[in-house]
């Protein structure tokens, strides 16, 4: 099968095809049953709270009540996460009698990411590094004097690089 004589234009022609899809590891929505871990010495692992999808349900499962927004809760989170795999989050508060601090990522497959117990004498200021599936609101909840206070901030998350 001969082809029209190769002119310079012919060789310059090129096909751009998005065949090389960035091998972004997909976040399947499958949720696996958590194998029940035995309760650690200091209170049972809030299994149910970690299984909830939405932040509201997770907060209710964890504390049995809803939180109200308060500027007394300081949530330190980046505007654009350098990478969804390592997002530094800091929570601190001036509130008195703090007994617990929790951090939720609203649009993660399961909203509750971490929950910390703050015994008397421990300063209510925690820093940790979380994973975020995509751009989402991060919610910090502080339990103080039996009431729940919260702060929310959106953190943008996307892949890096030029697409591969």
């Amino acid at each position: 099968m001969n082809r029209p004589s190769e002119t310079v234009d012919a060789t310059r022609r090129m096909i751009v095809k998005g065949t090389a899809v960035l091998a972004l590891i997909g976040f399947a929505g499958i949720r696996f049953g958590w194998s029940p871990a035995f309760a650690a010495a200091n209170g049972k692992y809030p299994e149910d709270a970690f299984k909830q999808k939405s932040s509201e349900d997770a907060i209710k499962a964890l504390y049995g009540k809803a939180a109200e927004a308060s500027d007394k809760v300081k949530l330190d989170a980046p505007e654009i996460a350098e990478n969804g795999a390592v997002v530094p989050i800091g929570v601190s508060t001036a509130l008195a009698d703090v007994t617990s601090i929790s951090i939720l990522v609203a649009d993660n497959p399961n909203a509750l990411a971490a929950s910390y117990k703050i015994p008397a004498g421990t300063i209510p200021n925690v820093a940790s590094r979380l994973k975020m599936a995509k751009t989402s609101n991060v919610i910090a909840v502080v339990e103080a004097g039996g009431k729940l206070y919260s702060a929310t901030k959106e953190v943008k998350v996307t892949v890096g690089g030029c697409g591969g």
Partner: protein, 292 residues
């Protein structure tokens, strides 16, 4: 034989030549190719280009790559540096480095100064063998010379060893030498050529991103300047959730622009590392580093 027209017409009308962007005017100085290569002048021009482009960034801070280009990223980096994720690699590397081979020798016997605080001298040009020796190649040569199997150039063992060796050189300025040997000059030029050559279907060169657009974003990432870009190697990338050597970075960069990567320690990659390290002479070693 009249070939069937249908495929060709479809192909021709549907294709536009993306390489047309080659006509994109060269942004930088015209290519008056000074024939005799002058590495020292190149290095001076290289530093001047970036310090002019980023007057507020101190010369030694270019080694922090994207973290010197963006305040938000800088804060996230400061947080990570309090207890960096590459901590485990340095400890593993230290253990491996001191564990003798089966023949009783160890890496310390292969390197000047027992391999402590020497990373800034790599890569060097081996006048006997007539080629560039990178730290990773030297480590595998040492293993093979002592009857041990070589490590993969992109996997964790090599990253752990180079992480420890880089750690022992932190703060020491890059000190890459080009001996008076035409082959060394050729290796340097080959590395420079590779750095500026457009490749892959995206038709980018290293310079397209790291000279034309450092500080700008490609989606979530901020591009690092080419000056000092290897000073923090090996790096723990959040993207990889793990360590990576210079070879791993070169090969993944190639695939991202849809160019088929060469072998991890291919001559051109080693020459590229030689060129990039030479033009960053004087900037401090900051490895191992954390990166997005």
């Amino acid at each position: 034989m009249g070939g069937r027209r249908r495929g060709d017409i479809g192909v021709r009308s549907a294709i536009r030549f993306a390489l047309g962007i080659v006509a994109l005017a060269a942004l930088l100085g015209s290519a008056s190719a000074a024939e005799t290569p002058n590495p020292a002048a190149d290095a001076a021009a290289f530093k001047k280009f970036f310090t002019d482009k980023f007057p507020k960034v101190k010369l030694e801070d270019f080694v922090n790559g994207p973290y010197s280009m963006d305040e938000g990223l800088h804060r996230q980096w400061q947080e990570k540096e309090q207890f960096p994720p590459y901590e485990f690699a340095v400890e593993t590397g230290k253990e491996m480095f001191s564990k003798p081979f089966k023949n009783g020798k160890s890496y310390a016997d292969c390197f000047p100064n027992q391999g402590i605080g020497v990373r800034q001298d790599y890569p060097y040009f081996d006048t006997k063998g007539g080629k560039v020796i990178t730290l990773e190649l030297a480590l595998n040569q040492c293993r093979e010379a002592n009857g041990e199997p070589p490590f993969s150039y992109v996997k964790d063992e090599m990253a752990a060893l180079t992480a420890y060796m880089a750690f022992t050189s932190r703060g020491k300025p890059f000190d890459i030498k080009i001996p008076d040997d035409p082959r060394a000059l050729e290796a340097y030029e080959s590395g420079k050529r590779y750095f500026y050559t457009r490749r892959g279907q995206l038709n980018f060169s290293c310079a397209t991103c790291h000279v034309q657009s450092p500080g700008e974003r490609i989606r979530a990432e901020v591009l690092a300047p080419a000056l000092g870009i290897l000073n923090a190697m090996p790096i723990y990338r959040s993207e990889w959730s793990g360590m990576g050597t210079t070879s791993r970075r070169f090969t993944t960069c190639n695939s991202q622009i849809r160019a088929v990567p060469l072998d991890p320690q291919d001559d051109e990659y080693r020459d590229l590392e030689y060129y990039l390290s030479y033009v960053s002479n004087g900037l401090p070693i900051a490895g191992p580093g954390a990166r997005p």
